[in-house]
Subunit: 422 residues, 2 copies
């Protein structure tokens, strides 16, 4: 509320300034926005915030297609007159994302050549840990080269593992998806266990942190959720796990399990290690759900079912959190405001002011403090195989509210823009 | 519309009859309802229809917990005064389901003993192929024993494979879930393919029929959906499949694949055969998504992601089809009306009157014509690896409309009733 009021006054003053300046024939500077890393169901709401705020402040706004990968090919889209309403309800990266890390000097050289040529003076990069590293390098290089450039990072990750911010845009919606899916699957299991499946396993994203897997327990606030949550923060003990499942089965007859893809043995080996590396040399993870179910089936003799929502959990815009969408948009707006206030080389953050009523304030942190860092689930957010009241207090406000996309033909009317040839 | 009008007149007459009868001190007969087989997100809407209609018609209505499994233990719940509103928005089997087939005579003997003792005169069994077989056997045995019993089947299956009905309650909602999930995952893939995942594979339920897998193509009506659909109806040809994927990749850079769990090689072997049998001696299926992704990765060298929604697709009430929910409820009501009209030993069916506007009429078919039959996807509903306009015409009305459950704490407020000890 307070933020909104502040924002409105701020806008009005700026718009007056712009009108004045335009009348005096002043040419405004160009801003560049791009998306990077694994996408979310609300990253486009941040794009909406950046673009709308930039336009309101008289900036010319370009969008780089596929993050720095497209920027290095000068693959831009002029968003000055783009109809951007669809960004508020379309999931995934409307402008394409990338996994590129600019590792070599020639990439950096090329980037600044393109920035100079296009007179880019603001750069808004929307991503997670790796992307903030890229943003930080670009800011540092600009200073080194004496090129006037203001870089502001817009946070984004379903993994919720960025430090120095209470939470990340994208997390609330993915957590809501996971919580609801686990409720529905557990109800299904409860219907079937008497003479069919007794154990259901859902494999959940989140890389090295258990924020998302923990969300599988949130349904208990309404009466049903995961009975066992296997977090990467708690080294996997097979015997203890199996005896826990056994105990639950003997008590209630069925057991719903959430397992984080990043689950590790005490020696650091991934439980999900598929036993081979991909073409880039990374160990392929996946199938931890089947590994866990296999243990339960072979050692306890119980019938199992396994779900792996994969991309569905990170792009499930149809059941996104309203709070998350609004915050994602606001993070985009704040990035523009900070840059205009000469607060750059930073990422937008959210600080929690209070839980009841839920209130946050926007702030910022130097990019280098975020780059390549991982925030794990705090120890007081879980206990044994379940989550604590502290986690409920933390997470419930983030999944609050629904903001359904418009529907047409019984399906969401998501919009696609042409991203050009690959 | 016409049906509704008919229904209203019918009700009024019946209610008058009941009031009259009650005043005369006539005791009404008992009806028993139970759920069976794999559950759906709308099976409880059918329960709502049966219970509400039975009560309106003065029947005493009992519910069997866990289908015939619970009935054989006399595990009943008196639904005469139960608050049933939650059945309209809570997924899975609110009263528990079962997979039991009554194979031996002692089960049948026991069943009729319990029916007699409780004076059950109407039996409404809500399930798929196997359950209709059970219902048929019970009806036949009743006649053989001279026990007055009216059995009516209420159709239910996400697989949509029951014959003699245009479609089955449960299918529309699961199809909607699949269609939306594939749209969202394909948008995600489209964001990432430039330097990350190029092929996404979603494994879809449906046993031997491709009705549900076909739904992964429906998103194209709004611009994005599955590029390749692997149906059980089309024997799997690995070389042809891989060259199709390769062609799509070279054209657009990414490829979203839907694969039915029941996909078979030309010799009839399941592509998903996991190589072992479960404790009941059934071959365990599963992981066909990983099998397909493995082929793409190893033979085409492309990075893949795999999703297996499993139970999520059949209990995803949060995004169920309004049309499906309304029809599920109506199928329940019609079962009661048919029984009261002395039309028994049948299953309720739906006939499509027209597509534009979409209109169905309710009818019935003898149970023995449904039992253990499977309706496959018609040949003119698919072509190569995609679905045809005819399939769109058929399926789009079934996924039409949204009927969101109520939310509390950011999550659906599904309700659970006590099902007793296991």
């Amino acid at each position: 509320m307070k933020n909104e009021k502040y924002g409105k006054i701020f806008y009005k003053l700026l718009i007056l300034k712009i009108i004045e300046a335009k009348e005096e024939g002043i040419v405004f500077m160009k801003a560049l926005y791009a998306q990077s890393g694994g996408v979310t169901s609300v990253i486009n709401a941040s794009a909406y915030g950046v673009i709308d705020e930039a336009r309101k402040n008289g900036l010319e706004i370009l969008v780089g297609i596929n993050g720095v990968t497209g920027i290095l090919k000068e693959n831009f889209l002029d968003a000055s007159d783009l109809d951007i309403e669809f960004l508020r309800y379309t999931p995934a990266g409307a402008f394409g994302s990338c996994r590129k890390k600019m590792k070599n000097d020639s990439d950096i050289e090329k980037l600044f050549e393109i920035f100079r040529k296009n007179e880019i003076r603001y750069f808004f990069y929307n991503g997670g840990n790796d992307s903030m590293d890229t943003a930080w390098r670009v800011q540092m290089e600009a200073q080194k080269r004496g090129y006037e450039l203001k870089v502001v990072g817009v946070p984004k990750t379903i993994d919720n593992d960025l430090p120095h911010t209470d939470h990340c845009p994208g997390y609330g919606s993915a957590a809501k998806y996971i919580a609801i899916s686990m409720m529905e699957a557990a109800l299904d299991l409860r219907s079937m266990y008497v003479d069919s499946t007794q154990v259901f396993v859902m494999e959940i994203m989140g890389r090295h942190a258990g924020w998302l897997a923990a969300a599988a327990g949130l349904g208990w606030i309404n009466g049903i959720g995961a009975d066992v949550i296997l977090l990467p923060e708690k080294p996997f003990n097979k015997d203890e796990f199996l005896s826990t499942v056994n105990k639950i089965i003997s008590e209630k007859g069925y057991c719903a399990i959430a397992v984080a893809e990043g689950l590790k043995y005490p020696d650091g080996f991934f439980v999900s290690d598929m036993g081979f590396t991909d073409s880039f040399g990374n160990r392929q993870l996946g199938g931890v759900g089947f590994t866990i179910a296999g243990m339960v089936r072979s050692e306890l003799g119980l019938k199992t079912h396994v779900a792996i929502p994969d991309y569905l959990q990170r792009s499930g815009r149809h059941i996104a959190s309203k709070t998350d969408i609004e915050e994602a948009e606001m993070c985009g707006r704040m990035a523009v405001r900070y840059a205009l206030e000469d607060n750059y080389g930073v990422m937008v953050t959210m600080e929690r002011v209070s839980n009841n009523p839920y209130q946050i304030k926007y702030s910022s942190v130097p990019l280098n403090l975020v780059a390549d860092q991982t925030k794990m689930l705090p120890k007081d957010f879980y206990e044994g195989y379940t989550v604590t009241d502290k986690f409920f207090e933390y997470a419930l406000p983030l999944i609050s509210g629904e903001f359904y996309p418009p529907f047409e033909n019984g399906l969401p009317s998501y919009k696609l823009i042409n991203l050009g040839k690959k």
